[in-house]
């Protein structure tokens, strides 16, 4: 891990991975959208509205996945003081917030025809909303200091504090009796979802992951370049 903490080595590596990730995003998204819109059967109860699931569920997974990754990076940044770990959280936060927003909006659109309401104050929905606020709070905190280093470090502590919310989101549907349906893919005893629905769902999940990887690599690269420009300018100003 320490091997890849070197920004120059990281930039070389990411230049190799990034185009592949971007290509994979396009291919997987096209295949996934075709499968989920045309290649999968409508639900026997929900009809065609079930197709919202193929966007909603991967977005929800990604929202949690990105947050957990940011929290791991925050711990690494605090313990080993890796500059890249700090930059990763900063680069990933808007993407994660976007996934959370997509999850909440599609969930609302799905809830309107199925539950008869756009929003209910149920444990899963509320804890997801809290996750959204955690993302927003993190982004606000990181940008609130004149010294960017200090902002990132304060943000790292906040990310680790916010980790308590993750198991609450995952298990909220098991702990409380909620309107939101319980887990049907990642559960003890294997998935209960039908196979022809599981395949498009997984393809979409991989498409979202590839999108996340390619965007975060791009954002990390621009962060590193911005830091370089700032250092050059500071040296210039000091007349060296």
């Amino acid at each position: 891990m320490h091997r890849f903490a070197n920004p120059a080595r990281f930039l070389r590596l990411s230049a190799v991975i990034q185009p592949w990730a971007a290509g994979a995003t396009v291919v997987l998204l096209v295949v996934g959208l075709y499968l989920s819109l045309f290649g999968s059967p409508p639900d026997y109860q929900q009809g065609d509205t079930v197709r919202i699931m193929y966007v909603h569920v991967p977005a929800a997974w990604m929202a949690l996945f990105v947050y957990v990754n940011m929290a791991i990076a925050a711990a690494v940044g605090l313990v080993w003081k890796h500059p890249l770990a700090d930059l990763f959280s900063k680069a990933a936060a808007p993407v994660g917030a976007g996934f959370t927003a997509v999850c909440l909006v599609t969930g609302s659109l799905w809830g309107a025809p199925m539950w008869g309401t756009w929003w209910v104050w149920d444990a899963r929905l509320t804890s997801m909303l809290i996750l959204f606020f955690l993302y927003l709070g993190y982004m606000a905190l990181v940008n609130a200091f004149d010294d960017p280093e200090r902002g990132v470090k304060a943000g790292n502590v906040l990310l680790l504090v916010g980790v308590v919310n993750i198991p609450i989101i995952k298990f909220s549907v098991d702990w409380w009796n909620t309107l939101h349906q319980p887990a049907s893919v990642i559960r003890m005893g294997g998935p209960t979802i039908a196979g022809e629905m599981l395949v498009p769902l997984l393809v979409m999940a991989f498409a979202f992951t590839a999108y996340f990887v390619s965007v975060v690599l791009l954002r990390l690269k621009s962060e590193i370049l911005a830091r370089k420009i700032q250092t050059l300018r500071l040296n210039d100003a000091q007349g060296r």
């Binding site: 709070g137 606000a140 609130a144 304060a154 502590v157």
Partner: protein, 221 residues
């Protein structure tokens, strides 16, 4: 332990001599609750139904009000750096300052709450539970708030940022605090809610000073 008590005593003396923090928090709490009958109408049944939630939300906001200055004054006049250098662990410093903050702003809220419950026409069954949940819940609010106060030290518009960071983390306390009172009024046992609230306190008591100290170290670095 001696140093810990000295620090608590110092903060209490500072707060009492300046005099404003404690009274402002209680005044805000009372005014906030008094606004509701104007907003939703003076219908006694409606007020009785929402009393528990209103009092808890007002308590949440009132405890948020003075949090910004928990470390701010010490940070600005440099005594925070001296506190970091004392033999007392920084975690204990955070705990001592949080305890002082709770004694100054949390305890008056607990005293004022039954009076407001009468004003809002709450049923008598809920009174004891209201005081009990506030007594267990407000320390959790101060502890979580201390993390936020330490994180936003030296930030631009720290006060607004603090509420954005802390209010989402306050939600579990609000759910179980108001839930216990509602359960007691409906004739159910408030015990599970109170136990969960106590669990939150038991978790926050060791973890919050730890996170707060980590944030403070970065502030004075």
């Amino acid at each position: 332990m001696n140093r810990f008590l000295t620090l608590v005593g110092r903060d209490l003396r500072l707060a009492l001599r300046q005099g404003s923090d404690a009274t402002i928090a209680v005044m805000f709490f009372v005014l906030c609750v008094v606004l509701f009958p104007f907003g939703v109408g003076p219908e006694p049944n409606i007020l009785a139904r929402i009393a528990a939630g209103v009092i808890w939300v007002a308590a949440l906001l009132a405890s948020l009000l003075s949090l910004e200055r928990l470390f701010q004054n010490d940070y600005e006049d440099g005594s925070l750096e001296l506190l970091v250098l004392t033999p007392l662990p920084l975690e204990a410093v955070v705990l001592a300052k949080t305890l002082a903050h709770w004694l100054v702003t949390g305890v008056p809220l607990i005293v004022a709450a039954p009076l407001l419950a009468v004003l809002l026409n709450m049923e008598a069954d809920g009174f004891g539970v209201l005081v009990l949940t506030l007594a267990v819940g407000t320390p959790v609010l101060s502890l979580i708030g201390a993390i936020g106060a330490a994180l936003t030290l030296g930030a631009r518009r720290g006060g607004v940022l603090l509420s954005l960071l802390i209010l989402p983390l306050y939600i579990p306390v609000l759910i179980f605090g108001a839930g216990a009172i509602d359960a007691a009024i409906l004739g159910l046992s408030p015990r599970p809610h109170i136990l969960l609230l106590s669990g939150l306190l038991a978790g926050a008591l060791p973890l919050a000073p730890w996170a707060g100290a980590a944030a403070l170290r970065q502030a004075v670095e």
